[in-house]
Subunit: 329 residues, 2 copies
């Protein structure tokens, strides 16, 4: 295993310390490193809390800040955070207007966030993200998985929370964005969980895992490595089928790197995805390209598409200031 | 070779097309894809032009925009752009106040930018960046190499150009930032140039290349993989020795991923680098962490440190709006 780490047991703590130091202007680290929260809270605002296993950085801690999340709870690598972490985060950022949990659909996360929601005495609701169209049910999931589209849900709902929307409205908005978002990914290599010390899966030198999950879990099938155009054809084709959009529909296109794929290739995928979308008469109104929802150092990418109207676009464009997304402030 | 590409010969063109489409609000692509330039030019401003081989994305095209570069010329992967590209870029963005070229110290880049500078009939000057303290002379270089510190030079000089500084002052400023900046990197794996189709170098499963260049060229020595703390000790130690800073000196700390290293590890390196800097009494006033100056999918990182005073910090903090750096606008 080749990683820039010290002791395997200290990776998460040392990474969180570095993150908190580097972004001390916008975040603080909770006691016992249970959560990352916004430095400056806004009274009377519904708070947004997300979290999940680590190894997907910059998701979720990189989305904490003005106009997005109020707190994020990092579990160990590819392991759900505990209800205790979520409760500590909720109590720390409570603004008196309720708490919205944004949860990727994985069994561990679902169970722990549900326990936290039940233990929390103040108003709360949960948006479950399940944007991955690759497979129904999976290694760690009942139903569809929640993947890179989670970032889009967090951005848009975060903007609505920042302007003062109420809890029920935010829950409805989050559910509707999840429904308007579809994603699918492909892996060219495995990743290695530090504590495991060896690759999560084996894959041939000429193979790819089509429909892979963000923990390296199996997708639809193992096939020969295809061209960027072929891959975009299947990823975007599956997304278009799921969203059943009309011609002329405006969208956000998010080409996400899994951690080991350089930008040079991600932008080739942007070109390839655009061709498929334009062929279907779908318009891309906004782009996001980069490694935002990763699987450690896995090579590969996912494509996410969200169907938007002018109101959703305005929320996407609204000011945001987190470690990785920043505009308008 | 496992890459998200179509034909090897089309990688750069398709990547540039995707980049230009995704960032059409801030950049346009020159004819024959010779350069990427700012969409909105500012008359009477000294223009900043950089460039170099592709494969280091987001450098340099990702630094084009308000408060940074006016144009960037992308060569083929790890190959200098041509004087023809640089002249076309200079003519396209000319604001009547002169041109400053910012060039990483590699023999090919140096020769081609010098030819362009000689052919350009309007006022121009060149800042040569040679921040890499690892080795004196190298595979593609006479003298020290120019690496990740180039981004810091481009940001600070870009801010000064935006406020209206004259060509001579910008040249002096650029030279002084280069002198105040030192970098060093380490590679855990090789990268594969698409046209070559095989790894640039071979490295053992338990080895690292200490002092590696950003094309995978050899550094100081090949040694057993060390801990993050040990690596930071050597990288930052070499930087501190080069810069000979006094206790209490304020700095910018830039932990840069080479393309294949996840953020989880980069922030472990932030923590490790901070320990060394704090031990030397050096203060970190600003942080930048991410894969900004890459070597395709190489695993590893570099650390750059720039000694700053309040005036330089103000230029670092000044508004910038490029594909990857954005604040204040």
């Amino acid at each position: 295993m080749k990683k820039l780490i010290n002791d395997v047991d200290d990776v998460l703590a040392e990474s969180l310390d570095g993150f908190a130091a580097a972004h001390a202007d916008i975040v603080t680290l909770g006691a016992e490193r249970k959560f990352v929260r916004r430095r400056t809270l806004k009274a009377g605002k519904v708070v947004l809390i997300s979290g999940g296993g680590s190894g997907h950085e910059p998701l979720h801690a990189g989305m904490v800040g003005h106009g997005m999340l109020d707190a994020a709870c990092p579990g160990q690598v590819f392991t759900s955070p505990t209800p205790d972490q979520m409760l500590a985060a909720a109590e720390s950022v409570d603004g008196g207007a309720g708490t919205l949990f944004i949860v990727k659909n994985y069994s561990g996360d679902m169970m722990n966030f549900q326990m936290a929601a039940e233990m929390l005495t103040s108003d709360n609701a949960t948006v479950i993200v399940n944007d991955d169209v690759a497979v129904e049910n999976s290694t760690y999931t009942t139903g569809r998985r929640g993947v890179a589209g989670t970032l889009i849900v967090e951005k848009i709902v975060g903007a609505a929370a920042e302007r003062g929307d109420a809890l029920a409205a935010l829950k409805t908005l989050g559910d509707s964005i999840n429904k308007a978002t579809a994603s699918m990914g492909v892996a060219l290599t495995s990743c290695t969980v530090p504590a495991a010390g060896k690759p999560t899966f084996q894959i041939g030198a000429d193979e790819m895992e089509m429909g892979v999950g963000i923990h390296g879990e199996p997708g639809r099938r193992r096939v020969k490595l295809g061209s960027a155009d072929d891959i975009a054809g299947e990823l975007v084709g599956s997304i278009l089928k799921d969203l059943a959009m009309k011609r002329g529909q405006e969208t956000i296109l998010f080409v996400n790197g899994f951690g080991g794929t350089p930008q040079l290739e991600l932008y080739v995928m942007v070109t390839a995805a655009l061709k498929v979308l334009e062929g279907a008469g779908v318009k891309v109104a906004r782009f996001l390209t980069g490694s935002y929802v990763t699987s450690l150092e896995m090579a590969g990418c996912s494509v996410s598409v969200t169907a938007v109207d002018p109101a959703l676009l305005a929320l996407w464009d609204a000011p945001v200031h987190t470690a990785v997304l920043r505009w308008g402030v």
